[in-house]
């Protein structure tokens, strides 16, 4: 357990020392939403129905954008090799890195999402539900994304391939999360889709560290 906290603290420390980079995911998230509004100039009634999808696609893209430096810097300065030949199970280290990535990118996006939801015309409760779906959903994005990053970290120009590998796997999260908010706005109970989202979270947090560590061992070899 000690190793998990050490790697987590180390990654957060490294992120804080690059304070400027911390803002990138949030700025990108807000910018994408603003672009949607400018692009559509839709009537408020239409905008509200699209709001969950817009916010979620923006969150998904900002997670995808910042996935790359989850392992990239460790790969370059040899820290990844040290992790793999350490006695600690690599999947525990990967889980720590996934959590660190979520705290750095997923959490800030989730925190400011309700405000943007209100901006797009969502009611207070709908924004709250949006916040919950993001709170549950963004860790899934980091977990699944870690598999794609681990597979492509060895490549010099892997980023386009990364999005082709990862986006199809993001589809279920996007569907269930934005549908949860839509069904809430339509007044139906949302327990079903929310629990499916929780199930996805548990599944991705338990399976993806194994797959990512196998992929890392391959990329480093």
């Amino acid at each position: 357990m000690n190793i998990f906290i050490t790697i987590l603290k180390r990654d957060l420390l490294l992120a804080i020392r690059h304070r400027a980079e911390l803002l990138n995911p949030m700025l990108f998230f807000v910018l994408v939403i603003v672009l949607f509004q400018l692009g559509m100039r839709a009537k408020p009634a239409v905008l509200v129905t699209l709001a969950p999808a817009i916010v979620w696609i923006a969150a998904l893209l900002s997670a995808l954008l910042s996935l790359d430096h989850m392992f990239r810097s460790d790969m370059e300065d040899g820290a990844l090799e040290q992790m793999i030949i350490s006695t600690q199970p690599t999947s525990l280290l990967v889980l720590a890195k996934i959590l660190a990535h979520w705290i750095i990118t997923g959490l800030p996006v989730t925190l400011i999402a309700p405000i943007l939801g209100l901006m797009l015309g969502l009611t207070g409760d709908a924004s709250l539900i949006l916040f919950f779906t993001l709170l549950i959903g963004t860790p899934i994005l980091s977990a699944i994304g870690s598999i794609g990053v681990a597979l492509t970290v060895g490549l010099r120009r892997g980023s386009v391939l990364l999005s082709i590998l990862v986006l199809p796997l993001y589809v279920p999260v996007l569907i269930f999360a934005s549908q949860t908010v839509n069904t809430f706005m339509a007044g139906y109970p949302i327990f079903a889709s929310l629990s499916v989202l929780m199930a996805m979270l548990v599944l991705s947090l338990s399976l993806s560290p194994w797959a990512s560590s196998a992929a890392l061992r391959m990329s480093v070899s």
Partner: protein
């Protein structure tokens, strides 16, 4: 420069049997076999691109050879991955130092990676290791403020701190000044004296007593 001198408890024979690695349609090297007894050092020589680094990474278990086996204490390392890695320290070309962490922070993370279960090493261990490596004045400076030679010594300090019986060092003397080279040579011979083993690649000659030193030329 006093280094604890009791021998490593888990030192055991490390050997390789006819390792072969293929690289783009030709053999990088074929049928490499060597045996290393506790207390001995293998000096790996060879021209650039003759596969020295690949061989080191195979011994570390980072890469798999196309054919052949590495065995430690009589068993293949693939079956005893964790015990083998608990006895191994590897310093490669990219030395695994995070530029934005301070010297002590880097060593703390490296120590937890190696020890894991027990707590992080007591501060005096870190100070002792830094004093041995001549870095004690640089305790809290960031790694990116260190010179290349100091960074190299910081990477090598990991081997001392983690107290592992097998050292795999890839060009440990690069970027080191005369004083640095002397520190590293004393460190290695003390390590061999404690029944430790080392596999080293280096273009410069290492003044280590000859009877403990084996040679292997890949080119």
């Amino acid at each position: 420069m006093e280094i604890e001198s009791q021998p490593y408890s888990q030192a055991a024979r490390l050997g390789a049997e006819n390792l072969c690695v293929e690289k783009q349609d030709r053999w990088l090297f074929q049928n490499i076999t060597f045996q290393l007894e506790p207390g001995e050092m293998l000096h790996l020589r060879g021209t650039n691109g003759s596969g020295k680094t690949t061989l080191l990474r195979i011994v570390c278990g980072l890469t798999n050879a196309d054919q052949g086996e590495i065995n430690w204490a009589g068993k293949s390392i693939k079956q005893q991955r964790d015990e083998y890695h608990s006895q191994l320290s590897y310093v490669g070309h990219s030395d695994g130092i995070k530029q934005d962490l301070s010297v002590t922070e880097n060593l703390k993370v490296a120590a937890v990676l190696a020890r894991g279960k027990q707590q992080t090493p007591k501060p005096i261990d870190i100070d002792q290791t830094l004093r041995d490596m001549g870095l004690n004045k640089k305790k809290d400076t960031f790694a990116h403020d260190l010179s290349a030679g100091q960074r190299r010594r910081l990477a090598l300090a990991r081997c001392l701190l983690n107290d592992t019986s097998i050292w795999i060092l890839d060009e440990p003397l690069t970027a080191l000044d005369k004083h640095g080279v002397e520190i590293v040579e004393n460190m290695i011979s003390a390590h061999l004296h404690r029944n430790g083993m080392a596999i080293v690649t280096s273009h410069q000659e290492l003044t280590i007593n000859k009877d403990r030193c084996k040679d292997l030329d890949l080119s």
